[in-house]
């Protein structure tokens, strides 16, 4: 009898639970306020659409989303000769980039040298935006391709980047050499690295590479970096430490060693604190054990280490004897001159600290003021040695122009 009376309640409970569950399920599965379609990077897409990583496509999509399409539309028939200001240059460049017309892009940048309206020789205000334009497109594509292990594509875009940056570099005023020099050097090395050494490198090289660290830093400062979130985990780089890099060298294929040793040498020159220990390490790494390579591009920069070592040695001798040796100073001066002659703008970013040390050498009073002012005046604050040179200028009461 009791069970008979309870049955309707069991049915009632079942119905109540079923109704509430159904209502909750309807609420859970309600249509999203954003709808089935969303606007992503200025493009109407299905919310569920997933795209594969394709750096060039993603950069083009970013341009279409950020740059006014109406301007692209208006300037799509403009040619290189019609470029007479930065905005037209940008619109023409973006149009050519979206079309992937690389030979026209090279022509565009080669024509920059002769462009009187832009007047890059006397006017450095356009160089920054032009370099940023190239960084956020071709350099970013090259680096992303490299980190996706698509080395042929990466090599092609590094070479293209160099071809575009060189004319800008050689027609720009000297005050921005460092900004361009660092890019020229890294992209040139990357091109050679991908051609000759990439196939022998251990997979963990990418995370520990000094060049990748520099590139990551360069791209991090570009204004559109936040757009490439999908690549962030792929391009991750550890802060460069000599210990990690040395471990990597010891574990690497012997065919990769010339490049690894060279890269370490550059990093040490750049990061050296000018202590006696640092000079000795540098001498061991770069100077005493010359790189077993016939490649001029690898051997040439290590000459910076020789100069570094000589300067350190010259200082120690001067301290000991109390009088500078004019003939040794002349040797250093000659080495510096040869180094700058060979590497011109590419060398500048690497040896700011060497310049200061050179300026402060005993017996170099005539060059001292000019060199210190030159380094201190550098307008880009993210370089380590400009503030140091500035403080020396103040301390010594030097008057710069």
């Amino acid at each position: 009898m009791t069970a008979y009376r309870l049955l309707p309640y069991a049915v009632l409970l079942l119905l109540v639970v079923g109704m509430i569950a159904a209502a909750a399920s309807l609420y859970e599965n309600r249509a999203s306020k954003d709808g089935t379609f969303i606007v992503r990077d200025g493009e109407l897409v299905r919310k569920a659409e997933i795209r594969l990583l394709d750096p060039l496509l993603d950069i083009k999509t970013r341009i279409l989303a950020d740059y006014p399409v109406s301007i692209l539309n208006r300037s799509r028939d403009k040619d290189i000769q019609q470029v007479n200001d930065l905005e037209t240059l940008r619109a023409v460049y973006y149009n050519l980039f979206i079309q992937s017309d690389w030979s026209e892009i090279k022509k565009l940048f080669n024509a920059i040298k002769a462009n009187k309206s832009l007047d890059l020789k006397n006017n450095n205000q356009y160089v920054g935006p032009i370099v940023e334009m190239l960084d956020s497109t071709i350099l970013a594509a090259a680096y992303f391709y490299e980190r996706l292990n698509m080395n042929d594509a990466a090599s092609y875009y590094y070479s293209l980047y160099l071809d575009c940056l060189r004319p800008v570099s050689f027609s720009s005023p000297g005050s921005i050499d460092r900004m361009l020099g660092r890019r020229l050097m890294v992209s040139r090395l990357k091109y050679y690295y991908l051609r000759d050494y990439a196939r022998y490198m251990a997979p963990e090289y990418a995370r520990h590479s000094y060049l990748n660290w520099i590139l990551d830093d360069t791209l991090y400062f570009m204004s559109t970096y936040y757009r490439f979130k999908r690549y962030w985990s792929i391009v991750e780089v550890d802060s460069f430490t000599d210990g990690d890099f040395l471990d990597l060298i010891q574990r690497s294929d012997s065919r990769a060693l010339p490049f690894l040793k060279y890269e370490r040498c550059i990093a040490l020159i750049r990061q050296s604190d000018w202590s006696e220990d640092a000079a000795k390490t540098l001498n061991d790494v770069c100077a005493v054990a010359p790189l077993a390579t016939k490649d001029d591009y690898l051997a040439s920069f290590t000459s910076a280490a020789h100069i570094f070592f000589r300067v350190r040695w010259y200082l120690a001798e001067t301290e000991k004897t109390g009088a500078p040796d004019a003939s040794k100073f002349a040797e250093i001066e000659r080495a510096m001159k040869t180094f700058y002659d060979r590497h011109a703008k590419e060398a500048d970013f690497l040896v700011d600290d060497m310049k200061i040390k050179y300026a402060m050498l005993p017996g170099n009073a005539k060059e001292r003021d000019r060199t210190l002012c030159d380094v201190a005046k550098f307008p880009y604050p993210n370089y380590d040695f400009a503030p140091y040179a500035g403080s020396l200028v103040k301390e010594m009461g030097i008057k710069c122009d």
């Binding site: 109540v16 109407l44 299905r46 979206i98 992937s100 996706l148």
Partner: protein, 233 residues
């Protein structure tokens, strides 16, 4: 259960799963479906439920049901309430409240869905035509919707899309001609990327050439084999 009930259940099942079946056989993308079919296909579950309810309604003998329930409700333990000329048990009131909650949830769900489909109807057409590389059709629909006051909320988006499609339709043939010009010079990886880009950005299916059929690794293989992402949903 009568034979009509069985038939109705079968019909409801077919309606509910027809979209999935056609997807499995890969026919949906090839059928020249009108764009309103996208809207109708979103109501398949409701249609299946309506068929089932209609089958139940027509199959049941309602006078028997009423008589049986009249006997059944006497089993409620609580006291019957008399509200004007209706007598009701508290248990029945609880059940009614649950029905009301379900009804409200159902209507809210349907209203939201209808709102969503309203935009999907326009946007679905735009996305499909753009995906097929028919930028002129996508442009015209964007323009028509931008002028329609019911679409005021999206007018900025639609106007931007209009410009974008105008630009892409003009630049597309140039991009294809540049691709043809460099086809023999560029590395395989770039050709494959170009081929993917042409599909995604310009809606153009183009063969990257014999050289591109020998992928070296990385993402290349998946690039060649994946369907256009705007089609996959």
């Amino acid at each position: 259960m009568s034979k009509w009930g069985v038939l109705a259940a079968a019909l409801a099942a077919v309606v509910a799963f027809v979209d999935n079946l056609s997807k499995v056989f890969g026919t949906l993308t090839q059928l020249p479906l009108p764009d309103w079919a996208v809207v109708l296909s979103q109501y398949k579950m409701e249609l299946a439920a309506a068929i089932m309810l209609a089958a139940v309604a027509f199959t049941l003998n309602w006078s028997t049901v009423t008589t049986r329930y009249g006997l059944y409700r006497k089993l409620w333990i609580s006291r019957r309430l008399q509200i004007r000329f209706i007598s009701v048990y508290p248990e029945e009131l609880a059940l009614l409240v649950c029905f009301a909650i379900f009804g409200v949830a159902f209507f809210a769900f349907e209203i939201e869905k209808a709102r969503n489909l309203y935009t999907s109807y326009g946007f679905g057409y735009i996305v499909n035509t753009r995906c097929d590389g028919d930028f002129l059709a996508a442009h015209d629909r964007s323009e028509a919707l931008a002028k329609n006051r019911l679409w005021n909320k999206y007018s900025d988006v639609l106007n931007n899309l209009k410009d974008r499609y105008e630009y892409l339709s003009a630049i597309g043939p140039r991009r294809v001609s540049v691709f043809g010009r460099y086809k023999d010079e560029l590395p395989t990886e770039i050709l494959q990327g170009d081929s993917y880009e042409l599909r995604v950005l310009f809606g153009i299916n183009i063969d990257a050439g014999a050289r591109a059929r020998e992928p070296k690794g990385g993402l290349s293989k998946s690039w060649l084999q994946s369907p256009a992402p705007c089609k996959s949903f």
